[in-house]
Amino acid sequence: MSEQISVADFAARARGWLPDYLPAADPAAAQFFLTATGSSDVEDLARIQTCRALQRKLHDGGFAGICVPPEYGGQGLTPAHQAAFNRELRGYDYPAEIQASTFIPAMALLLEFGTEEQKLRHIPAMLRGEEIWIQFLSEPGSGSDAASAVTTATREGDQWVLNGSKIWTTAGWYGDWAICLARTNWDAEKHRGLTVFTFPMSTPGIEVRRIELVNGSREFCQEYLTDVVVSDADRLGEVDAGWDVVTRWLYHERTIAGGSKYVTGQGNQSTEGPYEAAVMAALAREHGTWDEPRTQELIGEARVLGLVRSALVQSVTRKMADGALPHHAAAILRLFSGMATTRRASIAYELAGERGVAWDPADRTDAQVALGYVVRQAACIGGGTTEMARNVISERLLGMPRERRADSEAFRDVPRGPGTSRSR
């Protein structure tokens, strides 16, 4: 591309292209974020196939990888172009479900740390919807401390042999490639003995188990790696310097909510479901409780939390962009979101009364309220716990003293609890 197309022209081109190539979005397909989808595995897999096809259409139309260099199959344009496309995309169905993980962090990390060969091999395939990537980061024992990974990679000539377990992966049961953090040196301090690898999910030795959440969701998986052999050519970044990659990995993860330049669209279609104040009000009218002042107080509170959250996101995002607040201030948003969602789950449950524990099978809203209440704390756990957000706010934003750490020696010697041996 010799002369870069203007944002306005690019948006106009998208406006012309979209009606002919992408179907309209189906509002009924929007999912309530706190309860099970209710869709079957077969339906979920069919949707993933649709996403791959939609991604291919974007690619062929010149709208995939808008900020990715042309040599890797992208358009070589700017975040403003991506933002303009996202605006035009509203109302259309698009491959929302395969944006996270594949494009950030996986593609972003390949761009930053990958060899030329790795970039050429994977990025065009990602942009064509041919490679869906999975993040092998969390482990059953690692909790909020990603650097405490114990999945181990042992070098054997030009290959590495991986053993261990990963958890909380989405797409684990249908993805194509994994990007995986593993420990390569047990004698170094814990951040200095880690390395990142990539490998296809078809590699022998990977066992995938679906995890059921208390609300019936089977979105997450746990994987067991047994003597999984990975070529050294598939290593991402330097040996024992994996924490450099993870730092960027976590950075890209945080940008999911805030609109990464590598992500198409404005997030998965989701709805606040029964936490939408208008839904609460409609239900209260249906059940004849709307006229009680307390009902209105609770519904008003739910709406206030939603409104204040939007004002807060806008304000803090702007302050971070201005430099008025450091990027750690994003932890305020995470904390508020967790608090607001759990409170709204409790309000919906209080309003439902006994329908929140025993309900007519025909009433799916009651079911959502009930299951939403049981899985409520997921809103304060997933994507980094609210406890970690409070640590970040107090230590990083406010400069209060850091917690004492007991893990600065060789990782082999760091206490990991009565159930684990200190060294391997």
């Binding site: 969390s138 059953p140 909790g143 909020s144 401390d145 405490s148 958890i167 909380w168 995890i211 059921e212 959440l213 208390v214 609300n215 019936g216 759990t342 449950y349 209080e350 009364g353 006994e354 329908r355 929140g356 524990v357 025993a358 309900w359 007519d360 099978p361 079911a367 009930a370 299951l371 209440y373 049981v374 899985v375 409520r376 704390q377 997921a378 304060c380 756990i381 997933g382 716990t385 609210t386 406890e387 409070r390 917690e403 004492r404 750490r405 007991a406 893990d407 600065s408 760091v414 206490p415 990991r416 609890g417 009565p418 159930g419 684990t420």
Partner: protein, 375 residues
Amino acid sequence: MFTLTADQELFEATTAQFLAAHYGSERIRQMRYAPAFEPEIWQRGAELGWTSLLAAEADGGGSISGNGLLDLLVVAFHFGRHAAPGPLLGTNVVALALGRWGSAAQRQGPLAGILSGVGVAAWAGPVGQAARVQVDDTGEHLVLNGAVACVDGAADAHHLVVSAEIDQSITQYLVPLVSPGISLSPLEGLDLTRRFHRVTFTNVRLPTGARLGAPGEGSAQDAELLDVMAVLQAGEIAGAMHRAFEITLQWTLDRYSFGRPLASYQEIKHRVADLRMHLEASEAAAARAARAVGERAPDASTWAAAAKAYTGRHGPEMIQDCIQLHGGIGVTFEHDLHLFLRRAVTDAQLYGTPESASRRVAQLIETPESLVAAR
């Protein structure tokens, strides 16, 4: 736990061992799609005393300590600790009703059946989702029409106690669930082993002997049963809290983060201290209420509603915080915590929410003369 007599302690140990042997958490998880009522186990529970504590000795029952509700609270506590299945609450409430107001026939038949563990009963107690049952008295027969929105354990029960109205007078009836014209439609529910149904009555004909207690006394009787139910629910919630606390304290000791046990982080220590306080307060409230209601003290209803309001509000919240302290594993189906949350919220929300229990406490406040005069 509660302060017990030596006899109660023996009884508690037996019940706890029995429940632990039969209702480990893996078993509870397996029961979610299976029938949740196991008659053999229930009958062995009856042999341990689970069904006879609220009945008089003359009827074949008898308490351990002199206050059968205090004894039964121990069973409810351990049912909560195991999120155990079984018609404990409904059957005992009906046993109390039959013993207190039942005719000789009702006591010799259905009540004796309950005490032996062979008979199972359910109570269509007053719930918020109002649905009225009307009764017609033809002289020869009583005919029931209407519906009750939510009954716990109706599908497994032989008898149902239900209040019905005629000419603005409400009376309780003991209804065999096999009576023609009764239909059950299943509800979905959070508790993995409790089954709820909407019960519809369509021209259900009963003999006049089906009346339970004096005509027009239905609401008063329901109110007494509601107090007993509130105490038992508070006991189950306290038990569920106890188990959740135990699991969580151990987790904070075993789980390490950044090279230190979670239990060494002050923020976590202080939250656990709050949990411990709510647990102790819930146990104290449930026991105090069981004493008052079991003794039919003048302030029995106040204590029952207070125990329900306190445990119903703080029990589920406390277990939610236990889940939070576990992180991701805490919201998985394979973990145990949600079993106790499901049990606690089910007890909290049914037969009066914590909010309605609070209102009931307020309505029972007596204004001292001094205040009336002073203002």
